[in-house]
Amino acid sequence: MSLPRTLLGLLDPQPAHGYDLKRSYDQHFAGEKPLAYGQVYAALARMLSNGLIEVAGVEAGDGPDRKRYAITDAGVTELRSWLATPEPPAAYLQSTLYTKIVLAVLTGSDPQELLDSQRSAHLAEMRVLTRRKQGGDLATQLVCDHALLHLEADLRWLELTAARIDDLRQAVTR
């Protein structure tokens, strides 16, 4: 995920201090690993120099948190265009799993064993996510659902592969 663009999005409604940005980032997106201050200020510095944000006010005293930042017109344009651009559809685990299955077939070990054990591993992780989802607020539920649906897609692909394992064996051992 692009941190600068996410921070731009958080700055869009109103100007904020670095500290506010970190807090609202953690609240919406961090899951289990909160953002380090260093990351926030590094991203803000880059966005300042790119003209995506500006300093909207400086309070008396010292320390990095004196400044309030605001999004610029260029920042708004950047944010809108990022939101409008689809993410490249990525291949997730398939390549590793595919490599393992082909190697299992080639080395004469049982690919079904691999499929069963991968399914167990996936299901174990899916149980954790399902439990977290049931105890969580709507944002947590949505984030967990995304992960669950991806894991499910892996498994469906594995099951499809399992159903065609004999064809695969012929294809790779020819």
Partner: protein, 225 residues
């Protein structure tokens, strides 16, 4: 540790087709077990054997101290009625009875007076969030509502085991998940074990563990251990 429900080396063929070939499985009280595996691998047949709906050709099914496979049909039906609950893919509600009467049915069959049975049925309908369909016939409610009614009917009698074969198979994913949440939460509260057949991983993820069936053989790590 002795299991609540146990299938030991079950064989079952339909004509020349072997559906189960030495399948073994053990279910503890109160646990939620998902039965997973490819289409045609024998999941439903295994469930039906364990529930005493289908008699296996060989092997034994034991529930507590009772051996289901050795019981006469009448005795087995009685045990099924008093100890087991069922949820299938398409509700299987009695079409002539209202949803309320459907949920009350297990209590009525157990000899409980109508007033009390329907009072408790109403509480269960509220618990699965469909009080509003109490007076409707099953044909007049949505698939998701019908499945919730079926969940209430399966649990109202306080069964020790709930058998669920693709309980979310006919529902969209939001409704399916809600039904799974309600089913597993109610089962955990009442201490019922759930035996859940599903081909959807997200549904299986509501279980405590899974048993994989492949070509009629159940791979139950607990039995193999």
């Amino acid at each position: 540790m002795s299991a609540l429900l146990e299938g030991d080396r079950l064989d079952k063929s339909f004509g020349p087709t072997p559906a189960l070939r030495g399948a073994s499985i053990a279910v503890e009280a109160g646990e939620v077990v998902a039965i997973v595996g490819a289409s045609g691998s024998g999941k439903s047949t295994l469930l039906h054997c364990l529930a005493g709906i289908v008699r296996p050709d060989a092997g034994t099914v034991r529930y507590g101290d009772a051996e289901l496979t050795a019981m006469a049909d009448g005795e087995r039906s009685r045990l099924r009625r008093s100890e087991f609950g069922f949820v299938f893919q398409f509700g299987h509600l009695v079409p002539e009875l209202t949803c309320l009467e459907n949920v009350a049915l297990p209590l009525r069959l157990a000899g409980i007076r109508r007033r009390e049975a329907e009072q408790r049925a109403l509480e269960w309908l509220a618990r699965v969030e469909v009080e509003q369909v109490a007076r409707s016939l099953p044909g007049e409610v949505s698939g998701g509502q019908a499945q919730r009614v079926a969940v209430a009917r399966a649990l109202i009698g306080g069964p020790s085991v709930v058998f669920a074969d693709e309980p979310t198979g006919a529902l969209d994913s939001l409704n399916g998940e809600r039904v799974m949440q309600l089913l597993t939460a109610a089962a955990r509260e009442t201490g019922a074990a759930v035996l859940l057949v599903t081909h959807e991983a997200r549904v299986a993820a509501y279980s405590d563990r899974e048993v994989t069936v492949r070509d009629g053989v159940a791979r139950d790590l607990r039995v193999l251990a």
